[in-house]
């Protein structure tokens, strides 16, 4: 199979890629990388991602890492298949690009750490740092205040259509909704409705059912 994703089903970054493939209705092979034994830090995986992180991606001869670069590639290479994830209009694409940066640097900064503290640490036998959780929740709340204003004016973050700007959030939102951080989303009606719509997308349900 031409498209291969190397990763783990628990990795939000890997899920970001799987979701974009599902939205595009593309076939792919999933190659399991065992994070528990540190397989991602060894060869042969390191040849795919020298930073030793999942996911890695192949499409024929092309090899890529960094989930958000992979999703961009998928969105462009398969623009005519499945759900459009980008815009051909340069100004519309630029606005989508703004909110992709916001997700990557502001939302994920708090969201990914919260997910790690609350969900991942206990699985590894470590103790959640409650003070850090409080601080990170505050950080996330400030970001979601900006989202609330934005989503009051625009159906999706990048504009009136679903795009990568929304898609990139889904794995971490899904994780946080399983925790007390759900309250931060619920307190903001536009954000809450947007998050619910994302988690109800058939492509997301499909990759989680597998």
């Amino acid at each position: 199979m031409a498209i291969k994703v190397h990763g783990s089903p628990v990795s939000p970054a890997a899920k970001r890629v799987l979701l974009s493939l599902a939205e595009k209705q593309l076939d792919y092979e999933f190659v399991l990388v065992d994070l528990a034994t540190g397989q991602q830090k060894k060869q042969p995986f390191l040849s795919l991602n020298p930073f030793g992180q999942v996911p890695g991606f192949e499409d024929g001869d092309l090899k890529l890492f960094e989930s958000r670069a992979i999703t961009r590639y998928i969105a462009h290479a398969y623009a005519d298949k499945g759900t459009p994830l980008i815009s051909e209009d340069p100004k519309k694409m630029a606005i989508i690009g703004v909110w992709m940066e916001v997700e990557s640097q502001r939302f994920d900064a708090a969201g990914q750490k919260l997910s790690f503290e609350i969900l991942v640490k206990p699985m590894k036998g470590l103790t959640t740092d409650d003070a850090a959780v409080e601080q990170l929740q505050g950080q996330l709340a400030a970001v979601l205040d900006v989202y609330e204003a934005r989503l009051g004016k625009s159906k999706y973050l990048g504009g009136e259509e679903f795009s990568l700007a929304d898609l990139h959030h889904v794995p971490i939102i899904a994780n946080l909704m399983k925790t007390k951080v759900k309250a931060v989303f619920d307190a903001r009606p536009a954000v809450s409705a947007w998050a619910a719509a994302l988690l109800a997308r058939p492509a997301w349900l499909k990759i989680n059912a597998a």
Binding site: P50, L64, E66, Y73, M93, A94, G97, V98, Q105
Partner: protein, 214 residues
Amino acid sequence: MVVKVYGATYAACPLRVMTCLFELGFQFDLIKVDLQSGEQKQPQNLLRQPFGQVPSIEDGDFKLFESRAIIRYYAAKSASQGGTNLLGETLEERALVDQWMEVEVNNYNPLIYTMVLQLVVLPQQGQVGDMELVQDCKGKLEKVLDVYEERLSKSKYLGGERFTIADLTHLPNTRFLVEEGGMEDLIKRRKNLHNWWLDISSRPSWLKVMDLPK
């Protein structure tokens, strides 16, 4: 149409945008936002940038924020108009450019940003920086720079054989590392990385930006 750039000549993210605009030949006016007095958090700037930061741009009616989104927009504009192409020619080249832009955001910038905070910003505010944290970041950065060294041993620039926004995006934070950070030896000790840094930091667009009045 002259692009309005809201920012300051001493802040990394506005430098990223201004360098890109010089590279591509898009004229701009810098409208100074006084970061020392917190002007970026004032209502007028919040309308341009809801997180209260710089830069933002106005190009006629079109407004953007996030420096990396801004440089992508202008790079795409230039390439589509048959001008300088800083994005990559093929789908595959562009994917590699995107990959290394993500590396800068996720693996490179966070370490440098933390060091800037501890070494420069907190002392300026009369606080003591956490030197242990700086050492920790430095150790992590060494490993990251090893990966860059390996990459640059196989290709002249990060995205491939041509200079692209993947290289440009590294200019402001690498400058900090070398200057205020006093860690030039991290670069110098890695032959390919050093050659790459000398190359990109001697580009006319970067020299022009460095020459702008503070």
